[in-house]
Amino acid sequence: MDIQIRGVQKHYGSFHALRGIDLDIASGELLALLGPSGSGKTTLLRAIAGLEPLDGGQVRFGDIDATALTVQQRQVGFVFQQYALFKHMTVFDNIAFGLTVRPKKQRPDTATINKRVRELLELVQLGGLEQRYPAQLSGGQKQRVALARALAIEPRVLLLDEPFGALDAKVRKDLRRWLRQLHRETGYTTIFVTHDQEEALELADRVVVMNRGVIEQVGTTDQVWDAPATPFVYDFLGTPNVLPARVERGALLLNGATATLATAGAEPEGPVNVYTRPNELRIADDGDAAALSGTVVEIQRTGLLLRLGVQLLSSGDTIEIELPNPDPAVQRWQLGDAIRVRPARYSLFPRKATTAEVETGFDPTRTVAEHRERSRN
């Protein structure tokens, strides 16, 4: 079932949790709501479920105005972060719960319920555990019971709140793959909330990046990664280097004209910030006009990557560059070596304290070092 969200508003006292959210979700889509704490992603998910009364706006399931329906009537499958399994019920009773609480007329008979629960147990690969209590299950098993319980009511949409948040890394990886497969098999419209960019990009068809109660960008994994629409998205997905620059007569001048980059020509004149990820920087030779000179101040080898900290001669800022597994024959970097780097890919955002940027707490005038410091926390 497709979902349309129009102008959804939610306040908690003076805290504006959702500031007019518009979003269309296609039937059968697997969508991730990605954002930091307090971005409103969970509130949006709960609003879709009907667990949060809205202060404005509308949620539609296909042709139905869901805003007019109670939680009970919405028929959404909601999987809670801590699973919220009923401790005093067996796995079987947990999964059957949604069917057994229906009004008598709509309630399936016992045989149908039994059959349905067994099918679901097979689907989530928990056959044989139906008489266990939640306390006797592992985290991953609880997660799957919670999912089966949500699927039992044949939901219009499946909603998952931080589905892998409470699991350890290994189980998380397995469950992710399994969920992707389950989605392919069942075809439910599925929305999940996560703060983990990797999880969102790996699992979802489309990613919604949220910040401070607004949507920053909606797009496929490729779109949000390759073409971040806002500084926030750039910042949230990875830890970019931010270089102050100017656009003058269609040319981009980095660091007070020590380097010149070509622009697409559409940029407005004036101060801008150049966003470039560590892996988008390349080592340049001496003749490259677009290169920046600096000194190696930090060397870090992590597996297949070599990470260098480069202090720029012009500004004194330290930027980070990531090189693929280096060939030892070509160059062995030492601390203090002179180096020239150039951005192979980058994005420009006007450097002007616009209101939007102030609200996101995003300060483009910060030095690169400060910026990186904060991004890592």
């Binding site: 479920a49 009907g50 667990l51 939680v71 009970q72 009537q73 919405r74 028929q75 959404v76 499958g77 909601f78 809670f80 801590q82 919220a84 009923f86 401790k87 005093h88 019920m89 719960f97 949604g98 609480v101 229906r102 209590y133 306390a135 319980r149 949500a150 039992a152 009511i153």
Partner: protein
């Protein structure tokens, strides 16, 4: 019984000093104050033999007293279970003016001497009292009837249910109720099928504690009961009457019967708690 519900401390902690003197004193003190005296009662009671005990408690007046003590205690405990649950629910879920004050007053029956409670309740429920005079117009007599016994026992057992149910109710996660709602369960269904089962073991514990306390209660009951033999005479009073008549055997027999019944109750509570713990 709280301690039994807490996780056991981890092992390997012999490094701390003082086990021998503290445990030694604990056992010595318990032995002196509890074990030896209790053993004495059972020694006495066993001297009577089962026949002897049966002879005492099968007496009409004793049976009536036992029946009243246990019957009224059961009714009082049921009242406390019902109203105590409501009080606990209201305290945990809602905010209203005066809540803090009421919350503090809940423990009054623990702290107020029973004799004080006894005369206060009698003054209230006698036909000239604030409540008694109103009820008298409706033709209901409370003081000096079994009804009065129930009132006093309800007072004395009131904190138990509230204080056992409250912490458990606090821990019932909001998530569970939301989960039930998304699965289509209506409010009443959620309360009955999700919240009630989670709270039930603590409710039973509270019920049993209130019951045990009420069965043995003496001070707050004797004033309001009127103590008419066969009508409103409770078992503990009968023990005292028998003692005053120097009928030590009779007193011991009644006491032993009450002790055994209380012990069985305590055992049942512990078993129930152990079972509830195993589940979660």
């Amino acid at each position: 019984m709280t301690a039994t519900a807490l996780p056991r401390p981890r092992r390997a902690r012999r490094t701390l000093p003082g086990l021998t003197p503290t445990l030694g004193f604990t056992i010595f003190y318990l032995g002196l104050i509890v074990l030896i005296p209790l053993a004495g009662v059972f020694f006495r009671a066993s001297g009577l033999g089962l026949d002897g005990i049966w002879k005492v408690i099968s007496d009409e007046r004793v049976l009536a007293a036992l029946k009243l003590s246990f019957g009224a205690a059961a009714i009082a405990a049921v009242l406390n279970a019902v109203f105590g649950s409501i009080v606990a629910w209201v305290f945990v879920r809602y905010e209203f003016p005066g809540k803090r004050l009421l919350d503090a007053v809940i423990d009054l029956p623990f702290a107020l001497p029973t004799a004080v409670a006894g005369i206060a309740l009698t003054a209230l429920y006698s036909e000239s009292g604030w409540i008694g005079s109103v009820l008298a117009q409706a033709g209901i007599k409370v003081a000096y009837t079994p009804l009065g016994v129930i009132v006093a026992m309800t007072f004395i057992g009131l904190p138990f249910v509230v204080r056992t149910v409250e912490p458990v109710l606090k821990e019932v996660e909001r998530d569970l109720e939301e989960a039930a709602a998304t699965l289509g369960a209506h409010r009443l269904t959620t309360v009955l099928r999700v919240i009630a089962p989670a709270v039930f073991p603590s409710l039973v514990t509270g019920f049993a504690l209130a019951f045990a306390r009420a069965v043995g209660e003496y001070g707050s009951v004797i004033f309001i009961a009127g103590n008419f033999p066969m009508v409103s005479e409770i078992a503990p009073l009968l023990i005292i009457i028998k003692l005053e008549e120097f009928d030590y055997q009779g007193a011991t027999a009644v006491a032993a019967t009450m002790l055994v019944l209380s012990f069985l109750l305590l055992l049942a509570i512990n078993l129930l708690q152990a079972r509830a713990r195993r589940k979660s």
